[in-house]
């Protein structure tokens, strides 16, 4: 079974600075997908960024980028130029390839606070 671990329960950053959230996972699959979801106080789950394991290039979405290290099974999220609206719980999530179902396995989450 896949597991996802987020070792930082809480983090804080000053507005406009950069912060990196860590995520590691364990799987025996070679083909899979990784995601970061944001959950603001409204508790809605919002997709931030996704990465396909067979792509070596790290995904980027505006101020959000990932550092995907497949051999190390590491998938960290970097938020540049942090904004107050980035304050939220961030969940790392794993999804296996087509042959192993499409359930998402989530990490425990990291509560990020952006301070003015």
């Amino acid at each position: 079974a896949q597991t996802v671990t987020q070792s930082q329960p809480e983090m804080s950053v000053q507005e406009a600075e950069t912060v990196t959230l860590s995520c590691t996972y364990d799987t025996s699959e070679n083909n899979y997908y990784l995601f970061w979801y944001k959950q603001p106080p409204s508790r809605q789950m919002i997709l931030v960024i996704r990465q396909e394991a067979y792509k070596q290039q790290n995904a980027t979405e505006n101020r959000f980028s990932v550092n995907f290290q497949k051999a190390a099974k590491s998938f960290s999220l970097k938020i540049s130029d942090s904004q107050l609206g980035d304050t939220a719980m961030y969940f790392c999530a794993f999804m296996g390839g087509e042959t192993s179902g499409s359930r998402l396995t989530f990490g425990e989450g990291t509560q990020l606070t952006v301070n003015p």
Binding site: Y33, Q44, R50, F91, E98, S102, R103, L104
Partner: protein
């Protein structure tokens, strides 16, 4: 931007009562899911649904739970006899073809069992 709609946003029910949580997935999506999040804990998979049948379910999804797509638009989760420990946020999600694009989640139903 297409949305997944969940109703109600908050439901309070007596222990032992049946509840039905409702979801309207994105119209051209084919795969539907329910997840739950007990307060302060991680998000957990309950069930996936495709082609009018359950494709996968977790150990949480026991006989007290059922899902249904009664018409072309709604997707429901029924809990037959609620327990205190069923209190949680329940999220519906859907996706189209192409597993790697991730899901679109609804805004959740907060279920409180008293």
């Amino acid at each position: 931007e297409p949305e997944v709609t969940q109703t109600p946003s908050h439901q309070v029910t007596q222990m032992g009562q049946e509840v039905i949580l409702r979801c309207v997935p994105i119209s051209n999506h084919l795969y539907f899911y329910w997840y739950r999040q007990i307060l302060g804990q991680k998000v957990e998979f309950l069930v996936s649904f495709y082609n009018n049948e359950i494709s996968e379910k977790s150990e949480i999804f026991d006989d007290q739970f059922s899902v249904e797509r009664p018409d072309g638009s709604n997707f429901t989760l029924k809990i037959r006899s609620t327990k205190l420990e069923d209190s949680a946020m329940y999220f519906c999600a859907s996706r189209g073809d192409g597993v790697g694009y991730g899901y679109t989640f609804g805004s959740g139903t907060r279920l409180t069992v008293v």
